[in-house]
Symmetry: C2
Subunit: 183 residues, 2 copies
DNA sequence: ACGAACTTTCAGACATTTCTGAAAGTTTAG
DNA sequence: CTAAACTTTCAGAAATGTCTGAAAGTTCGT
């Protein structure tokens, strides 16, 4: 299988970028190709389209499955497995974020929680614990906020996003009301 | 210089994590150590505390400076350079996000924009362009939203975060009103 | 039970990234 | 100008990550 020149530059670019997002170059390319291809592809098609070995495709697919990003389907009377990207672009972004959170943020939070349980032994550990607490709080805030966003429907998200600059206005009104009450 | 056992596990963990966030293990360790240490450190102190070479520290500092995460200071009568982490934890997170956006999202947006300018040559390119458009729109939305968040003060952010589940309620009310108007 | 059509695994080749340490560069004091 | 006290650079060593392709494994129809 060959790819058109235009699609190729997309696929290659995603290969480079993908490697910054937690998977390697060929996995990025495979995923990009699956996303822009309407009909499902076989492992051999992926291998020939990207000029990589059959074995590499097999491992890449496994990786993408662990990220819950691809789906396997079958065609009656055909033994081959056909792969396609799962869900909408928004679903994909959601999945990648959640996966990254599980792999990167959650372990950090757990390390921080353990370290914060122990009593500081000296001056320097007091300061260190304060900084760890800051980081812990920030990560928890971001995590719960992200969970909240994931619960929203795509339409609600669109509304929220379009709100744009409105958010800060809304907040400043809210805060003024709040501080007035206190006085 | 030695680090206490507790601080060491923090530093090492951040080394591992840091490598997933765009810089390598030792750079992550250096940064973690600077964050939890109140007084500025010299390059030699960093090297001995982390058991890495002096040259490596020099390159790491350069990297951290390119991320705008460390500051150099001097002590009168002392030739050495003293390094410390810049700003609050929130500032750090902001900086890292912005830096990552510049390095990862912006180039992708530019590639996508170029590809979307050209007319599709066939059926398959039409579909491909639709997916590229989806990704483009999503990235733009996220980018502008992130820019908006950065403009908020830490306090406003706190309010917004604490709003939590409130956001979806607020939005659903807003949308009901909106759809009523349409009827 | 056998063979055809497929997929997965994994040892070793290859590629990339990171690290060291010696040498070169810079700055300041005298 | 020179020496001392520092920092930076960079070639090559070490470590890590990726890819290939042959062999082993799986599944299905007969």
């Amino acid at each position: 299988m060959e790819i058109s020149e235009k699609n190729q530059s997309f696929v290659y670019h995603f290969g480079e970028m993908g490697s910054k997002w937690g998977f390697n170059r060929t996995v990025g390319q495979m995923y990009a190709l699956l996303v822009i291809t309407e009909n499902p592809l076989t492992a051999n098609e992926l291998a020939s389209a990207l000029s990589i070995s059959r074995g590499n495709v097999s491992m890449g697919i496994k990786e993408l499955q662990s990220w819950q990003l691809v789906q396997v389907s079958h065609i009656p009377g055909d033994r081959k497995e056909y792969y396609r990207a799962i869900g909408s672009v928004w679903d994909m972004a959601n999945t990648v974020f959640e996966e990254r959170r599980k792999r990167e943020v959650d372990p950090t939070l757990s390390v921080l929680r353990n370290l914060l349980l122990e009593a500081p032994q000296d001056e320097s550990e007091v300061y260190a614990q304060q900084r760890m607490q800051d980081i812990h709080d920030l990560l928890e805030m971001v995590t719960s906020w992200a969970a909240e966003l994931q619960r929203l429907s795509p339409e609600q998200l669109g509304t929220l996003m379009k709100l744009g600059a409105g958010v800060s206005k809304m907040l400043s009104v809210k805060q003024q009301l709040f501080s007035n009450k206190k006085d």
